[in-house]
């Protein structure tokens, strides 16, 4: 880690060494990685990045660990696609979709876990762990397998079989906890304090979260080294939004892109919208809620980065929207039927938020907007089962024609 100068508390500014710690001893604020930007400025350039691997590791000058021994299963450099059909539908002429649904384990979590697992090995941990109901579990299990680390994934005992398979196939120990989400939260916090394990989003969190910056880096690079006018981000803990924002500003500070005038927009589902609610109420801090949403990957009732994401959105003159639950599936359908991209419920929340922003005139027709699609639709098929309505016919042309009422005569 040549350019990491240590950790720093995001609240009181106290400095700490770069160790697997995550909370300030003084004020209990979260710790964040600090970099020596003077040295990075001399070391990095657009050309150097472009010459790097076609993964998140092309940006390792701005990550807390070097790519030399990266636990790499190919996360990153996902497609950024111009969405002309969806744009036409919404009245937007410069709309782009960043499709992180095609990462190795089909969500953006591969980015953060690639960084966390690499750092965990550097610290000498032998065990990788997480608590998750879906995407994170799969990413941790896969990277744990690649790293040849003992891996534990803690899940609520009532998790759907499909989601369990998505992690179990990589061979971790899957621990199904009988209890509420609160119980799983508490247990994993206690285990992370008492065991010498690398819990990717607990004691490794300062390093883990840095991986999200690569989404912002890629958007800027793929747009021709510029930041867009708008980015719509699905918000669970708030970490992704804050790090994308941070990443764009790091690029600007290094002279890789021009000034950042991007407006950041929070996308949450109404059944779990603590960040959107606080933002729209003019508050700085979120109030914990009990999640009741179809968007399970966004179901974090007490978001660790809620305050910071509200702050980033206010600084950017952005906005926040809580999508009605009934519109989440329609967002998935709309993206699939216009751009051929099948996203999970978090993506449905993003597209429905995008539609709202276009209708309200928050995004102007010629402004460049990027919607972050963070997970694959195959993971949440149950949310869109109502769209699976095949025609049932007998094996005759007459039966077919009768069903389609002359629609396909040509």
């Amino acid at each position: 880690m040549p350019y990491v100068s240590g950790l720093q508390c995001r609240e009181c500014g106290r400095a700490y060494p770069a160790e697997p710690i995550y909370v300030c001893d003084f004020c209990f604020g979260p710790l964040e990685v600090k970099y020596d930007f003077d040295r990075i400025k001399k070391a990095t350039s657009r050309q150097k990045i472009q010459d790097g691997p076609r993964t998140i590791w092309r940006y390792d000058d701005l990550l807390p660990v070097s790519r030399e021994k990266a636990i790499n299963i190919g996360a990153g450099m996902t497609p950024l696609l111009k969405a002309d059909n969806l744009g036409r539908e919404l009245g937007l002429n410069n709309l782009w979709i960043k499709n992180d649904a095609v990462n190795p384990t089909y969500s953006f979590k591969d980015r953060v876990v690639s960084v966390a697992s690499t750092k965990a090995l550097e610290f000498g941990f032998g065990t990788l762990a997480c608590a998750s109901t879906g995407n994170l579990a799969g990413a941790v299990a896969a990277h744990g397998a690649k790293a040849r680390m003992r891996t534990l994934v803690f899940i609520p005992a009532d998790l759907e079989t499909g989601k369990i398979i998505g992690a179990a196939i990589y061979g971790p120990t899957v621990v199904a906890v009988r209890g509420t989400y609160d119980d799983v939260n508490r247990l994993c916090s206690e285990l992370s304090d008492s065991r010498h394990w690398a819990f990717v989003n607990i004691n490794m969190r300062p390093y883990y979260s840095e991986g999200s910056k690569t989404l912002g880096f890629e958007v800027a690079e793929q747009l021709g080294w510029k930041a867009p006018d708008h980015i719509i981000v699905p918000v669970a803990s708030g970490s992704l939004l804050t790090k994308v924002w941070k990443g764009l500003h790091e690029f600007a500070a290094l002279g890789l892109i021009g000034d950042v005038r991007t407006r950041m927009h929070i996308a949450q589902a109404a059944g779990c919208a603590p960040v959107a609610n606080a933002f729209n109420a003019g508050q700085t801090h979120t109030r914990p809620v009990l999640p009741k949403t179809v968007a399970k990957s966004l179901a974090i009732g007490n978001p660790a980065d809620g305050y910071y994401s509200i702050k980033a959105v206010r600084e950017s003159n952005g906005s926040a929207f809580a999508v009605p639950e009934a519109e989440v599936a329609d967002g998935i359908r709309l993206l699939a039927q216009t751009e051929g991209i099948f996203t999970e419920t978090a993506g449905g929340v993003v597209i429905s938020t995008l539609r709202h922003l276009a209708r309200e005139g928050v995004i102007k027709p010629n402004e460049q907007a990027v919607a972050l699609i963070t997970g694959n639709g195959l993971k949440t098929q149950e949310a869109v089962v109502k769209y699976a309505v095949p025609l049932h016919i007998d094996p005759t042309v007459e039966s077919f024609d009768a069903q389609v009422n002359g629609k396909f005569k040509d």
Binding site: E11, C27, K109, S132, G134, L136, P156, P288, I300, N302
Partner: protein
């Protein structure tokens, strides 16, 4: 009621997460208390320290007319800490770990 350990024991508990002192297991928990505005007038944290055999140490806090929050450490016997958290919830406060939810989608 278990005798409260001396202050040095709390510092050790802070460092170690938990240890034993006499008959009780000294533990420390770092929590965020979120309270609705109407509860802000009540000295809830003072009551925690008096109703239960725990030591509270506030690190950050803010109170607004709509709601208040406080980040604090609670040190004492583990069962007392769990009881005081249950009591605070019953009185209308939301009690969460300072780290936020760690179960991610």
């Amino acid at each position: 009621m278990t005798t409260l350990p001396p202050p040095c024991a709390y510092r050790q508990a802070n460092d170690a997460g938990s240890l034993r002192y006499g008959d009780c297991a000294i533990a420390s928990r770092r929590i965020t208390l979120t309270i609705p505005g109407d509860l802000a007038k009540r000295p809830l944290i003072y009551e925690l320290g008096h109703k239960f055999n725990v030591v509270t140490n506030i690190r950050r806090a803010d109170i607004t007319p709509e709601f208040g929050w406080a980040v604090l450490e609670v040190v004492g016997d583990l069962k007392e800490i769990e009881a005081c958290i249950a009591w605070a919830r019953k009185e209308g406060a939301t009690v969460t770990a300072v780290t936020g939810d760690v179960v991610e989608g």
